[in-house]
Each structure stands twice: as C-alpha cells, then as structure tokens.
C-alpha cells in the first residue's frame, strides 16, 4: 500500500449564504471522510450541489475545514485552473508568466517553459499580442497550455479535461491523459461515468455533503446509479 498523502476525517465546511448581517451558514460539506494514496487516481461522483467542487478546494488547502480534520503530507496540490489571473491588456507571453507564477511556478521555471507553451498553444505571432485581441478559443488554448506546465504532485481536476475546437480538444485531452497516467496522483470530479472508468482506479460518492461510499470504481458507480431517488434534505 502506497503512502497516504491526503486524509480527511469527518470534514465539514460551512459557507455564508449571503452578505447579510446574521445570514445563516450552510454546510457545503457535512461529513466527508476519504484517503488519497500517492499515485492513486480518485474519481468523485455526485449530483449537482453535492459539494464536489468544495471538496476539491478543501483537498487543495484553499478552504480550511470548519470541523473534522484534513491531514496533508507536504506535497503540492493544485487545481487544474485555466487562465488564472489573466489580464486582458497584456500579451500572451506576459499572461503566461503571470499565470504560471500564480499557479506556483518560479519565474525561472516558467520562462524556461515559454517555448513549450507557445508551441502547444499554437498561437504563433499572437503570443506577443494582448490577449484582449484573442478569440475565446485562443484564450483557452493559452490557459490550458500554461496549466499543463504546472506539475503538482496532486492534480485536482474539476470536470474540464479538454478545451478549444475539436482538434485542440483531442490534443489537450491526450496531453492531460498522458500526465494522469504518468504516475501523478489525481482527484477527478466528473459527471461522465465513462471518463471516471477510464481514468480512475478508485471512486468516492458524495451526496448532500456526505461521503456515502468510497471504494472500487465499478462498485461505487453501481451503487450511485441504483440510488435513483436520493432522499432529499438530509439534515
């Protein structure tokens, strides 16, 4: 059994519902327990609003739990985030550096990776142009190419596996799958059973902020779909 790098015990996270004096808090996560071992690829399934995105941000250490306990080995955890910190009036090159720095790369590292980013994004001369002149597809190509250069030990993915037009989707999807199967630890949130089966070796099912089941992918997916009429409003 590989070393456990993240473990969560009965974790709860509460949010402020709105900016009002005395507004009630709601628990986005009620009671989640799971473990993540090095090299493991964990799928997260659950219905909309079950707390999957909050779970990812809690694993990343962006959100601190209000109850329960999260233990994390000293590893870099990063959400696969596209176009983080992009500023419209800056060139593609400057934005790549800025975004890389925000995602945890050192200046030296991101500068060394600029040629790879330029090549993967297929931006050509546009790389030196302000991204306000880009199409949506170009911006997401640049965003993805930068995100791909960040190599955290634990990669957290929220749905997005590929971006851009059909051709770039294939290319970006392939690059990401290569990364995922290259031994990186992955937590992958998805509504697509097929993708979870392809990518993950274990899965956790989240329902109303609680981890209902944690185990083999097939078993978890079967139980998840068997539960066609979930009991609403569990307190």
């Amino acid at each position: 059994m590989a070393e456990t790098i993240v473990s969560m015990e009965n974790v709860g996270v509460a949010f402020n519902a709105q900016l009002r004096v005395g507004s009630p808090r709601y628990w986005a996560l009620e009671d989640v327990s799971l473990t993540l071992a090095r090299g493991e690829r964990l799928g997260v399934v659950g219905r909309n609003g079950a707390g999957k995105s909050t779970l990812l941000r809690t694993i990343a250490g962006i959100i601190a739990p209000d109850r329960g306990r999260v233990t994390r080995a000293p590893v870099s955890c990063q959400l696969l985030s596209l176009a983080v910190g992009f500023m419209p009036h800056l060139s593609g090159r400057d934005n790549a550096i800025l975004s890389g720095l925000m995602l945890g790369l050192r200046y030296r590292e991101i500068v060394r990776r600029l040629p790879a980013i330029l090549e993967f994004s297929e931006l050509g001369d546009f790389f030196e142009q302000p991204i306000s002149s880009y199409s949506t597809g170009m911006t997401s190509r640049l965003g993805f190419s930068v995100a791909l250069q960040v190599e955290p030990e634990v990669l957290l993915i929220d749905e997005v596996l590929a971006v851009g037009d059909a051709e770039f989707q294939e290319k970006s999807g392939a690059a990401l799958r290569e990364r995922i199967h290259g031994g990186t630890t992955v937590v992958f949130v998805s509504h697509g059973d097929e993708q979870i089966r392809q990518i993950c070796d274990r899965a956790v099912w989240i329902e109303h902020g609680r981890s209902v089941m944690h185990g083999k992918v097939d078993e978890v997916l079967r139980a998840y779909h068997a539960d066609a009429a979930p009991v609403a409003g569990k307190s």
């Binding site: 949010f15 402020n16 250490g61 962006i62 955890c77 983080v84 500023m87 925000m102 995602l103 945890g104």
Partner: protein
C-alpha cells in the same frame, strides 16, 4: 517559497503598470498628467479664486498634494485589492497580502514619477536641493509603511463588509483636510493643535515641506513616534489579513 511570492509580487506590479498604460490612449503620460490636473484644480480654487496670500503657497500646496495623493491611492487601490480579486483568492492558494502589496508598489512607482516632476518644479522656482534631502529617505519610508499598514487594514475588512467602501472615500477626504494638505495647521486653534499633531500624515507632510522648501531637518521625535505608529499599523493589517483569509474563500459570490 518566500522568494516565489516576491517574484509574483514584482511581476504582478509590472503587469499592473503595463496594463494600466495599455488601457488609455495617452498611457504613461496620465501618470503625471492626472496629478498635475488635480494640483492645478486646487491651485485654481485656493490660490486664484480664494486668493490665499500666504507666502510660498504654491510649493506648499504641491508638496502636500504629492505626498497626500501617494498615501490616498495606496489606501484606496490597495484597500480594495483583495475584494476585487476574490475570484483568484478562491482559486489558488496564495497569501492574500500579495494583492494589496502589488497595488501599493504600483502606486509607489507612479509616485516616483510625480516626485521627479515635483523636484523639477521646486528647483526651477527657487527652492534648490539642499543637504536635508538626506532626511527624505526616512520620511518617505515611514510614509510607505504607514500607507501599506492602512491599506492592509482596509483590504482585510472590505471583503467581509463591502459597504465600507462608501465610507472610506469620504473618510479619506476628511483626513486630507485634517492633514494640512491645503491649509497650514498653524491656522488651527492652538488648543486643538496637539490633536492634529497625532496625525501621522500631517507630521510627514510637514517634514516633507520643511526639507524641500526650507532646508529644515525634520522633528526627529515626532517622526520616530509616527514610525512606531506606522509599524504597529503594518503589523495589525498583516495580522488581520492572515487571520481573515480562511473566511474570504467562504464568502457568498
């Protein structure tokens, strides 16, 4: 790790200034033109219309406005920095203090342009450089620490209570008039004056005028007091941001 944040802060500052330059037709020229226009407005109102015949009024006003405007832009830009970047705070794990710091540095770079312009004006109108210029270093440093502390304090609280934005602009205007920017504090009744002298900005502006206009060394005791207040404010602001960061990520969108 620390070095990484330093790199991020410096590059973001560069990016901020560069983006600002690209956002308008005249770009860089506005860094000087905007404060020059503001100084012109005050000059028109207080010197031409209200016929203030205090000697040296124009340099008095220019020095005061330059130092004030630096402080004010740090507080208003830095103060809103976390609030306007909440999306980023929710997405990446970074110390939230990075965001106001970038704004403060960007405003400081712009202040340097203003300072150069101000010195040129002073030199060409009969206030030559002198040996007390040495004291500008501690005076400006203390002002930077004070402005950063005030900006951090505002930046820490505004995400939780955005309504404060409506109060802060007004509050800053009041502080400006209480800091002797447009009229000298000697025109304040003596029994109130000791209260006014507690105001760090008033002390700093007074020291700046002494140096630039009269080759007068600052009141070191007063400057020392202000330095202590500034450091305390800086520590408090930094502490609050660190302390409140876990709550920023949980705010309603």
């Amino acid at each position: 790790m620390r070095l990484h944040y330093l790199e991020l802060i410096l590059f973001s500052t560069y990016a901020e200034l560069r983006a600002e330059r690209a956002r308008s037709y005249l770009g860089l020229i506005w860094w000087v033109l905007e404060p020059a226009m503001m100084m012109g407005t005050f000059f028109l109102v207080f010197s031409v219309v209200l016929k203030n015949n205090q000697p040296d009024y124009v340099p008095f006003l220019l020095v005061g406005l330059a130092l004030w405007q630096w402080f004010k832009s740090c507080v208003s830009h830095g103060g809103y920095a976390i609030w306007t970047q909440l999306n980023l705070v929710r997405q990446v794990k970074l110390p939230a203090q990075v965001f106001p710091t970038v704004q403060i540095l960007a405003d400081t770079v712009k202040f340097i342009f203003i300072l150069v312009l101000l010195l040129a004006i002073l030199w060409s109108s009969g206030y030559p450089p002198n040996v007390t210029y040495v004291a500008l270093v501690p005076v400006l440093l203390v002002e930077l620490v004070f402005a950063a502390g005030a900006a951090y304090l505002v930046a820490a609280v505004v995400p939780l209570v955005p309504d404060l934005r409506f109060v802060i602009e007004q509050f800053l205007t009041v502080v400006m008039f209480l800091s002797g920017v447009v009229f000298p504090l000697t025109s304040v009744p003596p029994e109130l004056r000791s209260w006014f002298e507690l105001n760090p900005i008033a002390v700093l502006i007074d020291a700046g005028r002494g140096i630039l206009m009269y080759a007068r060394w600052p009141d070191w005791a007063a400057l020392g007091r202000v330095a202590l207040i500034s450091l305390a404010l800086y520590a408090l602001g930094s502490f609050l941001i660190t302390r409140l960061t876990p709550r920023y990520v949980k705010l309603a969108t």
